[in-house]
Symmetry: C2
Amino acid sequence: MKRIVIIGANSAGMSAAIAARKLDTKAQIILISDEKYLPYSRCGLPYVISEEIPNFEDLILFPPSYYEMMKFDLRTEVTVESVNPIEKTLHLETETGKKETIEYDKLLLATGASQIIPSIKDADKPGVFKLHGINDGEEIKKVMQKAKTAIVIGAGYIGLEIAHALNRKKIRTTLIEQNSQILSKMLDTDMADIILKRLEKRNVNVITGKTVEKILGENQATGVTASKKEYKADLIILATGVKPRVELAMKAGIKLGSTGGIKVNPRMETAIRDIYAAGDCVESSNMITGQPTLSQLGTTAERQGKVAGINLAGSYSTFIGILDSTVSTLFDLEVGSTGFTESYAQQIGFKTISGIIRSKTRAEYYPGGKRITVKIVAEPDMDRIIGGQIIGGEEVTQRLNLISIAIQNRICVSTLSKADTCYAPSVCSPWEPVVLAAELATKKIASARLNL
Amino acid sequence: MKRIVIIGANSAGMSAAIAARKLDTKAQIILISDEKYLPYSRCGLPYVISEEIPNFEDLILFPPSYYEMMKFDLRTEVTVESVNPIEKTLHLETETGKKETIEYDKLLLATGASQIIPSIKDADKPGVFKLHGINDGEEIKKVMQKAKTAIVIGAGYIGLEIAHALNRKKIRTTLIEQNSQILSKMLDTDMADIILKRLEKRNVNVITGKTVEKILGENQATGVTASKKEYKADLIILATGVKPRVELAMKAGIKLGSTGGIKVNPRMETAIRDIYAAGDCVESSNMITGQPTLSQLGTTAERQGKVAGINLAGSYSTFIGILDSTVSTLFDLEVGSTGFTESYAQQIGFKTISGIIRSKTRAEYYPGGKRITVKIVAEPDMDRIIGGQIIGGEEVTQRLNLISIAIQNRICVSTLSKADTCYAPSVCSPWEPVVLAAELATKKIASARLNL
């Protein structure tokens, strides 16, 4: 009987296990997790903090009976100490210190990512939190009951989702970002400004372009200094991004890529035979440039896990790369992006043209319509779409998916500008703003081309 | 000075006028309408009946000042009696009987469509209504104040939107459709059944497969007979579809297509030089087959009008055809389609494969998520998508647009199954149902191909 061992039981690991089981009903599938909880949705953590979701337990994906039904041997609170790719064995240690060696036929590293702890003095002081797992969330929720003020360090999605949650719970929040703008990975400044204005309206204090140097306080964090200015708070949360967890892979001699993620082929197989990797710990390739990149999104992990699972089971599937399509809901706005921002695209050498359309989500005369701003980023030489950013009161996600499909399939911006779209006054405008943004970009490309 | 004359001031006509004005600020643009109202959104009529929109006046697109600003010479309640393409003149008659002949340099026929009056005995009896213009809507609203029961003949979108409106106003409604299912143009039976169940739940009486033979009543309609059975009602509304209004074109010797719509080239020019046509009165070509078809949707009219307007102004634009992407909101469901249904595709000779996914619009654990069913229709020989149908509580429209873009750009169903999509628990599932439907269709195609 084939034994498939999966290290890590989150998005990638679970997705792989499910895909493998569908193809091979007999294989022994062992899932190893170093957490004490049953697999859960990490993306849901901020919504429990905000109390939009009542309990952390609500994030748990499946009841114990599911694992029985699927014949998954799920082992929680077990650490993998090392992998021996020659003997095809793993050395494990349980929470109680019991050691064990098990064999594998096929192995998947779905070890995920760990929080980047920035070079802030005393960043490990009590009272400084991160939000990576349920245990972190539980600690934060406890402190929030008494906290009146908070500082969130880092203004990416997670930082903003945390700020949103704290704000909802009436905790006066300061967001400190070393970059010159918030959400710099996903949005250009013009779009980020829409979110910034909303944050200001909701009384979130946003400080950009300042680096936190030090955590203040004797035994307990009481604030930070940023660019030498002091900021006090009852609660400090680091939202400074994540990095691939690759210690185990490195110890086993598995090759990493230039990004620091595990290098895999299109089947998600590492340089060592029968060892696969998927999710936050691997290096992906960008669909526009083909260049290596770290994606580290739940969707990417799920998609890669599925591909890995199919291959683990002995069938064939390939992963085609990523566009980093993301979305979030922040302060009653849906905000998301796909592909490159103008600023990043220019940084890596593209000339960019953008089309921005401000519209509404329903016909002008239909009640309840919300504002929506669509930005399409194109590059004039090949008339192609390389990015999209959308912020609106509703109906943002699927518009981003549409742009993502357009990028992935190298649809020209001029072609998108001719699209046949749906219309009903209750759910959209007669002229779809994505189409109008493409039309605007098309026109701008025409004049840009004259000067190429 | 160039004189552009546009006959018909609805979606196509207005869209053309605006596009022409953007390119030519000096041209004289005359818009001729036989209605007494300023141009308005016809698609909004059912929502006024349902009182989701308060007044018919709310549907009026622009205030009188707009026409001044745009230098549009809008002439309402004027009928065009004939067009002389040799002299390039039009013969007009105003509401008061005043006759006038005017010259044109470029002419656009945007004469729209008229209600199909089926061969029902006494279909013109007082008490039988249609919903084609504001005047119809006003009459219906008046009768609705006293009516307790209603019959709607025809279960296409308009028929269902009217039934939705009557139901909202607590009028006991019977829907009679001669086809064996409701919404047969847009949905396959499996999808239409979702709507049917909702209609039954809301106490709308649906009768399919029966043809209305006769309107009952002495001087005033009191009911109908369908397949010889009598049905009584205080109000009877015909929603039996529309046909191109082409009388003027025919009198002028302009060629029609096999569908009965005016034949145009890709620039929306008719067989007679300097006479263009756009909107419900023209024949379009289907983007999948290239075959002539009647589209008769607001979006098609707007897109064609824009193309015509650009060409009327002397610039260059082409219309690429239609997929009949449509959406509506019916009984708290968003329902729509794009491309072909399986049943229609088979009728015109395709073999079809479908993937149906039932999912939710948010993560399982996130409150407020609604059910959504996605059906993708593919054809196995070329692995391509030829249709999509979606019904859900929210977020349907943009998913249809995504499928429309995929069809338009001949994206393989297997490619769509690998798409990079967005995810946040508050706005979608980690696995996008459109992608899963494509994946399912891909798998079914593999086995179908073995037997091709």
